[in-house]
Symmetry: C2
Subunit: 356 residues, 2 copies
Amino acid sequence: MKKIKKNITIHDIARELKLDSSTISRALSDSPRVGIKTKERVLSKAKELGYRRNQMASNLRTNKTMTIGVVVPYISRHFFSEAIDGIEQTVADKDYRVIISQSHDDYKLEKKILDGLFMNRVDGLLISASMETPDSSHLSIFKDNRIPVVLFDRYFENGGLSKVIFEDKQGANDLTQHMINQGCKKIFHLAGSIDSQIYQQRYQGYREALKKNDLEFKESFVKPSSLTAEDAVEIIKEILKDKKNLPDALVCGNDISALAIMKYLDEHTEIRVPGDICIGGFSNEPASDLIKPGLTTVDQHPFMIGKTAAEMLLDFINNKEKAFRSSNTVEIKSSLIVRGSTLKKKKKIIKKNNIK
Amino acid sequence: MKKIKKNITIHDIARELKLDSSTISRALSDSPRVGIKTKERVLSKAKELGYRRNQMASNLRTNKTMTIGVVVPYISRHFFSEAIDGIEQTVADKDYRVIISQSHDDYKLEKKILDGLFMNRVDGLLISASMETPDSSHLSIFKDNRIPVVLFDRYFENGGLSKVIFEDKQGANDLTQHMINQGCKKIFHLAGSIDSQIYQQRYQGYREALKKNDLEFKESFVKPSSLTAEDAVEIIKEILKDKKNLPDALVCGNDISALAIMKYLDEHTEIRVPGDICIGGFSNEPASDLIKPGLTTVDQHPFMIGKTAAEMLLDFINNKEKAFRSSNTVEIKSSLIVRGSTLKKKKKIIKKNNIK
DNA sequence: TTGAAAGCGCTAACAG
DNA sequence: CTGTTAGCGCTTTCAA
């Protein structure tokens, strides 16, 4: 018969030491209001008995959980896993824990997750909204109960919420301008969801660069896409059908689609990158530096985005007035990483604004 | 002056409905011991007031948190983020949440994390141990308190713990055998940490394949490595110095190192893959399918590993006797994914045991 | 079917 | 410096 050790509580320690449980509690949280001698006795007895504080009880009493809720569409995407890395390191440093959930870009699920996180009384929330999320209405419970929220990456207007975002427009502008500098004249754009602020911004940056340089633009240059590898291949096939209207450059909404297109062109066509067409993407996926030619891309510094958002949230948690007085937006600078996929002219690799 | 809504409790509902809080509690958890009429009144009033159960209080009372602790060395590594994806989806389905922490392969930190998770009274623990972790002694608190633990990927002997692991030996054997079938005669091995069971197994698999085929083997064929991109480059440089002893194949402990070596060979040497040397790795990193030639690799099905471990843990949580009566080991089958990097002879791409 | 009462383990105001 | 007391919000006997 296995003996089951019951959980040791402060009362057990109190009994053995003939002290009151409140004294034990104080001693364990290193309160100055308890004798140094007693403190030592308590600590050693606690160790002897293998005592571990029951956080649930403590949480209930103090109304603090030292837990941050994190919601992202997909944990395993490079961008998000890097961002989560930044978040986890930052908050773990201050003894916070993270509960991580994925919304799978499903608004219904996202709402359910938020409900659960609220019921668990997380001390703060970091969320990159699902693609379907129309507004911040489902976040109002948090606001109403003064639980700080910081959005990162994906966001929505008129929410009045603080956020850490990426300068998508500038990034797209830089990328497009770079292609123009390389002599490209007919630049197409593989655009992400029109409902998403971030892809809207990338589209704007692309448009502005064309305009500034008086380059031709037609609506047909813009190809809406889900930006998956499969969809990207379908689209490039479509583009190639119209032989009289081939682009000499392609600004892709992300690296995944750009990489898929490069692979397709290489394996199934005579079209060469960058000779016949320049290609650029967003995110600096690990593969982008490994393929040949390397993929020119806009680095989004996801680790930095996560870290910055987490720091802002911790600041809000410790200064609640700040959190609700007004909203704060931090824009993480982009870095254009130039690689072979856009280098028609010979040129050294340039990094701009390289953070970290 | 902003009005701060106090959190609504069951007592608030009770007061408004002139019922006792215990009835509210029962109604909200859909107990059969409360009138259908009353239940409806309670539910509608709860909705009206915007009531959300305080899980902390509930947890304390029921001694359940519906929370799983997950510990991995690095969240953002492809393997782990995929495994976490599998874990999160599996447990979220059953309304569990995951607290995720990274040990950075630091044993001290890992111990601290486990302490924190225990204090939070997670209902179960999934852990891929740090590289430094010598044994399972730091897991005994969980065992002593009958909190189920399942190891995944990284493990240790004599722990007597249940685990979900990958058949590393077989994978390495398959990969090596495939190279031999391609006509390779002098096969080197880029080996991971000797302290790690998984790299030990890969080494064994490599050795056995050589032996079975009566191929030459010398200790000097095995190059210990941290398996980072940087270290891999250093090692290949070293190997190339000894011009009379060049390998015609290289079994790398992971894809990261294999990819780095392929890039180095391509950019700085005349040595061609697979013509002069065949290269293979482990993990099926996304980049491995994008580069040219593609990298032959052993797919570890990380999502499946995570999912399987999570399912086992949930089972243990619901059947505690199972969890502590004996230990259970599930080995996830490997799949050799053959790509260009090892194809000397022309051959179609083969997948073996492809799960999913 | 509902109510009364106790208590999960901890913390914190108040007293001494 | 230490003890007393109350209570965080919920669940769960036990009683009616």
